[in-house]
C-alpha cells in the first residue's frame, strides 16, 4: 500500500504500516491474553464446573463457556476498568488538560460535518447503552437481576440493532482519516505530548490516538456486532452459540478500555473540544498546533 506524503509524492512504506498495525494487534491481544492468564494462573476458590467437566469428553467451546462464570477473568477486567479511570484522573491532576479552547468567535472553522456529528452521537448513545447493559449482565451477580435488569437486557438488543448500521456507516466515512501515516509514529513516541513533551507534533484530522481508538472500535465493534447478531438471530447450533458468546465477551474488553480513554480525552483531557462535536466548529489556532496536516486547514 502506498502512502501519500505532504509533497504529494508517493512511496511504499509497508514496514511503517506494519508497525502501526502490529501495535494495534498487540494491544488487542495483550488485553485478551492478560485476562486469559488471570483465568488460568489465579487459584479457584471452590470446586467449579471446570474441574467437574475435565473428567468428561465435552467440546472445548462448551467447557470454556461453562467455566467462564468461575473464571477470574471477569473480576480482573473490572479491576482493569477501575485502574484506567484512576490513571485518567491521575493524568488530569498532574499533567492537566491540553488547552484547545478559544475565546475568539472568528477563530472557529468548520471541522465536523452534520453527518459526522449525527452519526457520532447515534453510535455514542447506542454504545453507552450497550456497554452499560452488557456490563450489568456480566457482573449480574453483584449488581442483581430482576425487572430493571430485564429491561436493560432488552435495551442491549435494541441498541445493538441501532449500533449495527450506524457503526458501519461511521467506519466508512472516517476510513480515509483513520489510515496511519508516517508522522503518527512520532506522535506515538511522545504520546501526543500528553505526558510532558513540548515540541511540535504533526497530526492529520485524527491524531494517532484517535486513529488507534477508531481501529479498536472498528475491529472489535464489528466482531461484537456479528457475534451479537449471531446469538440474537440464532445463527448455527448451540455449540456455535457458546463460541459466539465467548468471543463476544472477549471482544468487548479492549473496546471498553479504549472507550474509557476516549471518554477522558474528549471531556477532561482536552479543553474546548467537546463542544466541537455539537456545533461542528474547532479553533483554527488549536488545529494549527495539534492537527496541522488536517484537510480542513487547507480548505
Amino acid at each position: 500500500m502506498t502512502i501519500r506524503l505532504r509533497n504529494n509524492s508517493r512511496r511504499r512504506n509497508v514496514s511503517f504500516l506494519a508497525r502501526m498495525l502490529t501495535l494495534l494487534t498487540v494491544f488487542i491481544l495483550l488485553a485478551n491474553i492478560g485476562f486469559l492468564l488471570a483465568d488460568v494462573t489465579l487459584p479457584d476458590s471452590e470446586v467449579g464446573l471446570r474441574q467437574m467437566n475435565q473428567h468428561r469428553q465435552i467440546l472445548p467451546a462448551t467447557q470454556y463457556f461453562l467455566s467462564m462464570r468461575d473464571s477470574r477473568m471477569i473480576p480482573t477486567f473490572g479491576i482493569a476498568m477501575i485502574v484506567f479511570v484512576a490513571i485518567s484522573l491521575a493524568h488530569f491532576f498532574t499533567f492537566g488538560p491540553k488547552d484547545m479552547s478559544t475565546a475568539d468567535e472568528k477563530d472557529l472553522i468548520p471541522w465536523w460535518t452534520l453527518t459526522e456529528r449525527i452519526l457520532h452521537w447515534v453510535v455514542a448513545v447506542a454504545f453507552v447503552i450497550l456497554g452499560v447493559s452488557g456490563l450489568w449482565i456480566t457482573y449480574g451477580r453483584t449488581l442483581g437481576g430482576g425487572g430493571g435488569a430485564l429491561v436493560l437486557r432488552m435495551a442491549h438488543e435494541y441498541a445493538g440493532l441501532i449500533f449495527t448500521p450506524a457503526l458501519l456507516i461511521m467506519i466508512a466515512i472516517w476510513l480515509r482519516n483513520a489510515m496511519f501515516r508516517a508522522y503518527d509514529m512520532e506522535w506515538m513516541k511522545h504520546l501526543g505530548g500528553y505526558v510532558g513533551y513540548k515540541g511540535k507534533i504533526v497530526s492529520g484530522k485524527f491524531n494517532a490516538g484517535q486513529k488507534f481508538w477508531y481501529w479498536v472500535m472498528t475491529v472489535c465493534g464489528v466482531i461484537l456486532m456479528l457475534t451479537g447478531l449471531a446469538v440474537y438471530l440464532n445463527w448455527g447450533d448451540v455449540t456455535d452459540a457458546r463460541v459466539f458468546m465467548v468471543i463476544h465477551l472477549y471482544a468487548a474488553m479492549p473496546i471498553l478500555l479504549m472507550f474509557l480513554v476516549h471518554l477522558y480525552m474528549s471531556t477532561l483531557g482536552t479543553k474546548g473540544t467537546l463542544m466541537s462535536m455539537f456545533h461542528g466548529r474547532f479553533s483554527k489556532t488549536a488545529a494549527g498546533k495539534f492537527h496541522s496536516d488536517a484537510a480542513n486547514l487547507k480548505a
Binding site: L49, M52, R141, G146, L150, L152, E157, M245
Partner: protein, 209 residues
Amino acid sequence: MAKALAATPGAQGKNPRMMFYVDVARCIECGGCEVGCKNENEVPFGIQRIRVLTVNEGQTGETNVPVPCMHCSNAPCVGVCPVDALFTRADGIVHVNKETCIGCGYCLYACPFGAPQFPTNALFGSRGVMDKCTYCAGGPVEAFSAKEHTIYGSNRVAEGKLPMCASICATKALVAGDAEEVEKVMKQRVAARGYGQSNWGWQTAYQRA
C-alpha cells in the same frame, strides 16, 4: 446465592434426591407426557417443558427419549446464570426464580438437554424470562399460592405426588422419584429383560418367540 429450601424427608428419614430416569426401551412416543405436563401446569403456548425426541424413526431400533429438565447434580445452568436466578433445592430439584431472571439465554447455551425455553412475551415481542420443567414442584414462592400457580405451574411434589409426566406415562418409561426407589425399579427391569440396543422383540417383552 443458592437457596436450599427444606425438602420432605424420604422414606429412611434422610433427604430424598428427586430425579428422572428415562427407560428408552419402553417409550413408545405416545406424547402423554407432553400433553399431561402442558395441561397440569398450563404451560404458555410455544413452550415444551418436556419433549419426546425420536431417533431412527421408522427403522428397526427406533428409539424415543422423553427429555424434561434432568435436574442435574452440578447443573451447568446454575453455574452460568449471570444473575444467580437458578438454584438447586436440597432435594435436587433445579428451580428458576422468574423474578430474578433477565432472559439472557446463557442457561439455554449451557444445558445439554435444551430444557430452558423462552416465550416471546416481553416488550415488542422480545424474549421474556426463562421457563422450564419444575418437576411439578412449583417455584421459589409460597406453595399452593395463586402466584405460584400462575407463574410456575402446579406443585404436585408438595402434595406428595410425582411429576405429571411420569404419573401419566403410558408405559412407565419415564421413571421419577427418589433416587434409591428409581434404582430399585430399574434393577428389576434390567434383570428381567436385559439392556441395550438389541433389547426388543417378543422374546424380550413377553418371553415368547
